[in-house]
């Protein structure tokens, strides 16, 4: 079916304004938060009701047209990259908070509601939604479910999968089903868990019931400066060994510190090789006790300076530096490429050393910002796409970091998803039998392979090519 035939079929049940077909109007939909990859969809469709959305999906099912769902497109792995022969299904109009129940501590929301908007709406009840990815001002809850998003507080409060109770999902056939429930579990297989992080490949989320938590009575941040990255990394395990689960435990290296300092003047020590931000929260008494103990641990681990935020304003300023680290680093270079490997915490020091060696090898600077408590690294590789060969070098460098993560017992992606970007590295992390199990699982939900096909799970041919050729130096030889 060509574009105009499809468009006229859609017009039978959608207002004209909900169908975008002009090339220029489609331009904003050609990529997500990873603009290195772009593709124009056949059409973009913006339904406003679940019934309309079901009709779109049913039409696509009948006509065998692939569907790529998209929230706010802040994803960093090309998960919402359109397909040339497919529909881009925008969920931005599903932007209503349907209900907040302060007694059960839940919010029922449409998928296009922004992450932060949930916490803002819940604030008057003293409640908030815990997962807080850095993009939380813009990213939507539907996208969070698709990626199983984390944030800076997930060591203590979990990922999206731990904070979602129920999903209403449209199947590829266009049927509306419910996974999970308003109770704490549901009958049958845990399809709710499976949907989280499934990258829009198993169903289209049209409603989300999230768990809200009471705002802690108090939160306190400690900032520790180190003259050595490994010392900072080691102190992470020591805090855990003390029996304390910090609400947030973040680390930045020298380049990231300086970039953040220049950008938002967070008050970070400019000469430090690494800083650690450790937030403890809970009741007033608990926070006092834990801050003291964390202070002692950091000092014993060789921190050159430990500061406790004097007041709420300083606490927010410390976080401001961390939360704006990506744009801050972005000012240093025309382009940057953000990686997302996760490693066992004890490997942090080793991995950072290897990354700095690779940085020399590829002649590309790298700034490290990461969720140290989770072992989730976000190396930002600086490059200039206008310099011939630099994008390729950045990609090769990134691929090596991901493979290094697998080598030390970690994973290629902690929270950004595989999407289009890391599909080759899936062949490194998983055996062919495991990938085949993923494919069969996908087919159980989507027998015709119409939902976001080609993402996340590589086809066997792709893997055998990748394993044979390797990507430059990114072979598995080390």
């Amino acid at each position: 079916m060509n574009k105009s035939e499809l468009s006229s079929k859609l017009k039978q049940f959608l207002p004209a304004a909900a169908i975008i077909s002009e090339t220029e109007a489609l331009r904003p939909y050609e990529c997500d938060g990873l603009p290195a990859y772009r593709k124009m969809p056949l059409l973009a469709v913006l339904p406003q009701t679940v019934e309309q959305l079901q009709q779109v999906v049913k039409l696509c099912y009948r006509e065998n047209i692939p569907v790529v769902a998209r929230g706010a497109a802040t994803g960093l792995s090309g998960g919402a990259l359109p397909l040339e022969n497919g529909i881009l299904l925008g969920l931005s109009r599903f932007n209503k908070i349907l209900d907040i129940n302060p007694l059960t501590r839940t919010a029922r929301v449409q998928p296009g509601v922004r992450n932060l908007a949930i916490s803002e709406a819940a604030a008057r009840h003293g409640l908030y939604y815990a997962p807080d990815p850095s993009s939380q001002i813009a990213c939507t809850i539907g996208g969070n479910v698709a990626e199983n998003s984390g944030g800076v507080h997930c060591l203590k409060y979990g990922l999206t999968v731990h904070n979602v109770l129920e999903l209403k999902v449209v199947t590829p056939e266009g049927e509306l089903v419910t996974f999970g429930s308003a109770a704490l579990d549901s009958a049958g297989y845990d399809l709710l868990a499976l949907m989280n992080g499934s990258e829009g490949m198993l169903g289209i989320v049209v409603e989300v019931l999230v768990k809200l938590l009471p705002k802690p009575e108090r939160a306190q941040v400690l900032l520790a400066a180190f003259d050595d990255v490994e010392k900072a990394a080691d102190s992470v395990g020591e805090i855990i060994a003390e029996g304390i689960i910090p609400a947030g435990l973040e680390m930045m290296d020298a380049l990231a510190i300086q970039a953040a300092e220049d950008f938002v003047h967070a008050g970070y020590p400019r000469d430090a090789k690494a800083i650690l931000l450790c937030e403890v929260d809970g009741t007033n008494e608990e926070v006092s006790e834990h801050s003291k103990r964390v202070y002692d641990v950091l000092t014993a681990c060789g921190a050159s300076e430990v500061r406790t935020a004097r007041d709420e304003a300083e606490r927010l300023r410390f976080w401001q530096g961390r939360k704006s680290a990506f744009p801050a680093v972005g000012r240093l270079s025309p382009d940057y490429y953000c990686m997302d490997g996760t490693v066992p915490r004890k490997q942090l020091g080793t991995v950072l050393t290897r990354i700095s060696q690779l940085s020399e090898h590829y002649q590309l600077p790298v700034a490290n910002v990461f969720h140290a408590g989770d072992g989730n690294l976000h190396p930002l590789i600086l490059y200039d796409a206008n310099t011939p060969g630099e994008l390729q070098r950045a990609e090769d460098f990134g691929a090596e970091i991901l493979e290094l993560s697998v080598e030390v017992g970690g994973t290629i992606t902690g929270e950004h998803g595989v999407g289009h970007e890391k599909i080759h590295q899936m062949c490194v992390q998983f055996s062919e039998a495991e990938l085949e199990q993923f494919r069969r699982l996908k087919a159980a939900f989507d027998p015709h392979g119409l939902l976001n096909p080609g993402k996340a799970i590589p086809q066997p041919k792709r893997c055998s090519e990748y394993r044979t050729i390797g990507s430059g130096s990114a072979s598995c030889s080390h």
Binding site: N101, L103, T104, R105, G126, N148, G150, C154, G158, V161, H162, A182, A183, L184, D185, A187, G188, Y189, A193, L194, G197, S198, P214, K215, P216, G237, E238, I240, A241, I244, I245, G282, T283, E285, E286, H290, T342, V343, P344, K346, G373, G409, G410, T411, T413, G414, E415, H416, V418, K422, F430, A433, E434, Q437, F438, L441, A443, A444, F445, I457
Partner: protein, 383 residues
């Protein structure tokens, strides 16, 4: 502790079963044999024991992760964690002291010590569940044997991992119908520095309302249960936080907090000492008193209601005058679901699934176990 990797033998057993079109009834210690539907009895089925596949593969307290084989006795695993001041924060029941036998008082036997594999396959969580999370919340990775007799590894030992579908969490509560669990990696947490339980006498309305209100305020709650007359609230954390929380909640401090919560977790509390079928009603936490004939005990801060019916209301097996359908409907309308946790009636054990959901279940079963080798009928007849 025994340390024995039996995966090759288990794999071989699955290969044989596949070749001979046999069904395998997966069994750890058998401590939860009472749970689930009776597997379709065929001559061509045999027990596959994970008991020999034992031992802790990796435990690093600073990483907050433990990886162990499925046959590892749960109490041994918990003892190893306790030595490092850590715990399984979903507080799983052990069901190993004969508490669920009709007589109620048999001593613990070695043969019935819950294993890690059985705990995860059943997906059981204890009183701490509403406040810290469920068994599936703490699963980070697994190694399984699928119906093609392939050994597959999903997830891992890191806190965050979104590479591929979350098959490990899918295995939790699947009752072994999708594969044989070999090894499981779990996130662990530090033991609370202190715990205290406050007891208050109140009506069921007040109990439900207070449990929910307190859970929505910054109190260090770790369990909340109402037995029909008394409300029990457990607080966990730094001693000073527990003390100030207890003052805010009021009531009296319970002398033996630990054994009370153990009796709730292990279903040994007086409420459960009964031969009648035990129903588990999972409902939204603020659900008011559910009007059913019989008695109820509220756990999980209101989200889990244990129910024992009057015999004339839901009759035992063979009685045609049953009210299962109306029980299903009552709970479905509330937004919850029903499980026949223990006991024998004509009802299926698990809440019936809608047709589109059942279709996904059938296809998933097909995707993991195309020949239907594993625990056929234990969960739903069709799976």
């Amino acid at each position: 502790m025994i340390n024995n990797d039996n995966s090759k033998n288990l794999q071989q057993a699955v290969q044989e079963a596949r070749a001979q079109q046999q069904a395998l009834l997966i069994k750890g210690s058998g401590s939860k044999a009472f749970y689930g539907n009776t597997p379709a009895a065929t001559e061509n089925s045999r027990v596959l024991s994970t008991r020999e596949h034992q031992g802790i593969i990796n435990y690093e307290p600073k990483e907050l992760v433990i990886t162990a084989r499925s046959g590892t006795p749960l109490h041994e695993l918990q003892a190893v964690l306790a030595e490092q001041q850590q715990m399984l924060a979903f507080e799983p029941p052990l069901f190993s002291s004969g508490s669920l036998q009709a007589a109620g008082n048999q001593p613990a036997s070695d043969a019935q010590q819950a294993t890690l594999g059985g705990t995860i396959a059943c997906g059981f969580s204890g009183p701490r569940r509403p406040y810290t999370g469920s068994a599936r919340d703490f699963v980070l990775g697994s190694r399984i044997i699928n119906g093609e007799a392939e050994i597959l590894h999903f997830g891992g030992e890191v806190m965050k991992n979104v590479a591929g579908y979350d098959v490990s969490r899918l295995m939790v509560g699947a009752l072994g119908t999708l594969g044989v669990l070999l090894d499981i990696s779990l996130k662990v947490l530090p033991l609370p520095e202190s715990e205290q339980t406050q007891v208050l006498e109140c009506s069921i309305q007040d109990a439900i309302s207070w449990m929910n209100q307190w859970a929505g305020s910054p109190l260090p709650l770790s369990a909340a249960c109402y037995d029909g007359a008394l409300l029990y609230i457990r607080l966990s954390g730094a001693p000073s936080a527990v003390a100030s929380g207890a003052r805010r909640i009021g009531g009296d401090s319970l002398d033996d907090s630990q054994s009370f919560w153990q009796s709730i977790r292990e279903l040994q509390h007086g409420f459960f000492k009964n031969d009648k079928p035990l129903w588990r009603l999972a409902v939204p936490a603020d659900t008011p008193a559910i009007d059913l004939q019989g008695k109820q005990l509220i756990d999980w801060g209101g989200a889990q209601r244990w129910y024992i019916a009057d015999s004339e209301y839901i009759a035992d097996k063979g009685n045609t005058d049953n009210n299962h359908e109306s029980l299903y409907k009552t709970i479905t309308d509330i937004g919850g679901h029903v499980t026949l946790f223990k006991g024998d009636t004509d009802a299926g054990v698990f809440h019936p699934l809608s047709e589109p959901l059942l279709a996904i279940h059938r296809r998933l079963k097909q995707a993991f176990d195309p020949q239907g080798i594993f625990n056929p009928g234990r969960m739903y007849r069709e799976l």
